[in-house]
């Protein structure tokens, strides 16, 4: 039991937080605990969650990625472009994901080979990718996408009554959970974040691992973007603006240390849920949007404070 607690200490704080907020909301609004709303809530968080999963890897290596929102926008725009050009949806989506992978890899290369601090490197690419999106879309949303069932499915579909994006999120969560917990790659991610020098001297190819981590994040961002595109029936040039903040918040609320080397992807899922619950709840309670920001910030702070042991 003690072992269980110490193993999971980092996620107990946020978990309690989540339960707490949910209960409060359930009491305050009877529309909260309806099946409809729960599914609705899960579908809403799936996008942030997918990005945050990638961000978890990045932050575990003691990095950060501010460009996720722009990658999301550029990836979806290009995918939408392919779709409107009549390409087979699945192929278009696949190419879109590859593009995300490449954009992420560029981040990784700048950071490792260029030896630029992740924050500033991705701050720059964030701007560049956004600009590229605007150039490509000429500042207009791309519409008239294939109304193929497959593509609609991605964002709007249901499987056994569960929204498809939610399934996607859960499957990918499962995979990444396994990768972090049980694979050599996962172990290397933690080691690099914990002490890069020691990791390298232990024969870990830190640069390569990092490049993969950023590539993964890029790909997940585009995947999130594709879901968004499918849901919105269009790719927006301004899509994903400031998504990086919600993603980072989810990771950190989930108990992952920004210093790297410590954290769990379960925590990130919980973090994304907390943020989702806050947004959903504030709407349900019809809190004025001005106060919403105050409340949201306050709750995020609260969630992290519940978890202060970690942030030491």
């Amino acid at each position: 039991m003690k072992r269980f607690i110490t193993n999971n200490i980092s996620i107990i704080g946020p978990f309690i937080g989540l339960i707490l907020f949910s209960i409060i909301l359930g009491v305050l609004s009877d529309s909260f605990f309806t099946v409809d709303n729960i599914l609705n809530l899960l579908r809403q968080i799936s996008i942030n969650a997918l990005i945050a999963f990638g961000m978890t890897f990045v932050i575990l290596t003691a990095g950060i990625d501010l460009s996720v929102g722009s990658i999301l926008a550029l990836g979806s725009a290009l995918t939408a472009g392919l779709l409107t050009s009549g390409m087979d949806p699945l192929l278009a989506v696949f190419i879109g994901l590859i593009i995300g992978l490449v954009l992420g890899a560029v981040n990784g290369l700048v950071i490792t080979k260029g030896k630029v601090a992740p924050f500033i490197a991705t701050l720059a690419t964030m701007t560049i990718y956004r600009g590229a999106t605007l150039v490509f879309t000429d500042g207009r949303p791309i519409t008239g996408l294939s109304d193929s069932f497959t593509f609609e499915m991605i964002g709007k579909g249901y499987v056994f009554g569960i929204p498809f994006p939610v399934l996607l999120m859960l499957v990918i969560f499962g995979i990444l959970f396994f990768v972090l917990r049980k694979t050599v790659f996962g172990r290397q991610v933690y080691a690099i974040g914990g002490n890069e020098e020691a990791a390298i001297l232990s024969g870990i190819k830190a640069d390569r691992v990092k490049i993969w981590v950023y590539s993964l994040t890029g790909m997940l961002s585009v995947l999130a973007g594709i879901i968004l595109t499918s849901r919105l029936n269009s790719a927006q040039p301004t899509a994903g603006t400031s998504f990086e903040l919600d993603a980072i918040a989810a990771v950190v609320i989930g108990g992952t240390s920004l210093a790297g080397g410590k954290g769990r992807i379960v925590g990130t899922l919980i973090g994304a849920l907390i943020i989702g619950v806050i947004d959903n709840g504030l709407n349900l309670l019809n809190v004025s949007s001005f106060y919403q920001q105050i409340v949201k910030g306050g709750i995020i702070l609260l969630a992290v404070l519940l978890d202060r042991r970690q942030s030491k």
Partner: protein, 502 residues
Amino acid sequence: MSETPLVEMTGIDKAFSGNQVLTKVAFNVKKGEVHALMGENGAGKSTLVKILTGIHPRDKGQIKINGEEVSFTNPKQAEAKGIVVIHQELNIIPHLTVTQNMFLGKEITYGKTGILNHKKMKAETVKNLHALGVSNIDPDDLAGDLSVGKQQMIEIARALATNAELIIMDEPTAALTDREIESLFKVVNALRTEGVSFVYISHRMEEIFELCDRITVLRDGQFIGTEKIVETSLEEIVKMMVGRELGERFPSRDHNIGETIFEVTNLSSKEGLFRNISFGVRKGEVLGVAGLMGAGRTEVMETIFGYRKKESGTVTLNGKLLNTKQPSNLIKAGIGFITEDRKTKGLVLGSTIRENIALTNLSTVSTNGVISKSKEKSLVNELIKQLKVRTTGSEQEVKSLSGGNQQKVVIAKWLGIEPKVLILDEPTRGVDIGAKKEIYSIINELTKNGVAVIMISSELPEVLGVSDRIMVLHEGKITAFLDRDEANQENIMMAATGGSKA
């Protein structure tokens, strides 16, 4: 003589999260004495010091200074009472210059203005370093660019500079070579005659008997006893520490040595830290590497291991040319490297013992990328047992291990790869006498099984005791190769200080 001791600690208890570290420890220091504090790794020496200076709160017990009860809550208060500490872990701030480090927290200012008096501090720094016989450190150098040894000298100078009544040194010489130690002792002796007291923690027996007046021994956090040096003997102290006879200090080396398997030819450093290094190591041989602090020994090894860029030169194993672009290549080839600085280069401090040991052995404990818990556990527990790591279990964070036990973890992670060639850089730095012997016998075992060993050490007795052959470096050049039987302290020091080839 019943004069009140300068410091008197009685009935000190301390536990870290349930793990009892000190029980009923009594300890006192008289004015003007050098008092040795001895004990195995994890015995609780550093903890006792940290309690005295208010870094850790004590669970039970009493602390008196000049007879009056005190309980500090931060080191500044202790310093105000004239107690300064040189901690076991280096407390140097890498991006600050030597001078800035020297006066950290006690900057010299113009009156109360808070405005710094750079000139004065710089002058003082030079003075303090010279007092220690150190002249090769520029007060404007960034401390982070200096070798561990030089950093240690800065900390010592910093402590000696304060006109303290009691100076506590927690393994100050771990990173030093004989020359620095000599000058350190000179200063200590001088201050002692001026009535300054010292607490001296070290795992180097010779030093204790050379320097100290009294000695207190801890074992497993228990107070074992306090003796006058003149009334005791090395054997007795060791017995008090380990609880049993230890026997011969160095295991006998009587096995045959094979042909040369590992060869380094004309290796030169890109940073110009060394030039044209050529040497070979034979199957089952221990090549000792001696030299003064800053001679470049670490750099040579780090370059061989692909961690630093080489200018030119080749490294071959069994005649096969090795690619020294990155460490992973050499590890694959079967070469292990136990780094000098375990905290920054050896361990992932925040991780568990298991994760640290597994790090070099990921390929062996995994099948196509997936780690097998059982394989990992068995390997790790196997090694923990083999090296007698003092721990609550494989899930303990290495952060919370004592210095010596951390070192054992580093060695463990490299034994896992079953290396053909093992490079050890200061492998017994901060390791207690019992553990040292264990490490020596591990080295022995390895060589018996045909492993070629390269061992950097700044402890001459160790170099002499363990090596079959000794290579001496001076300012990045090889100045001598000495065989076991021709080598002695004198000709090694001669070569190390750049004297003509022996």
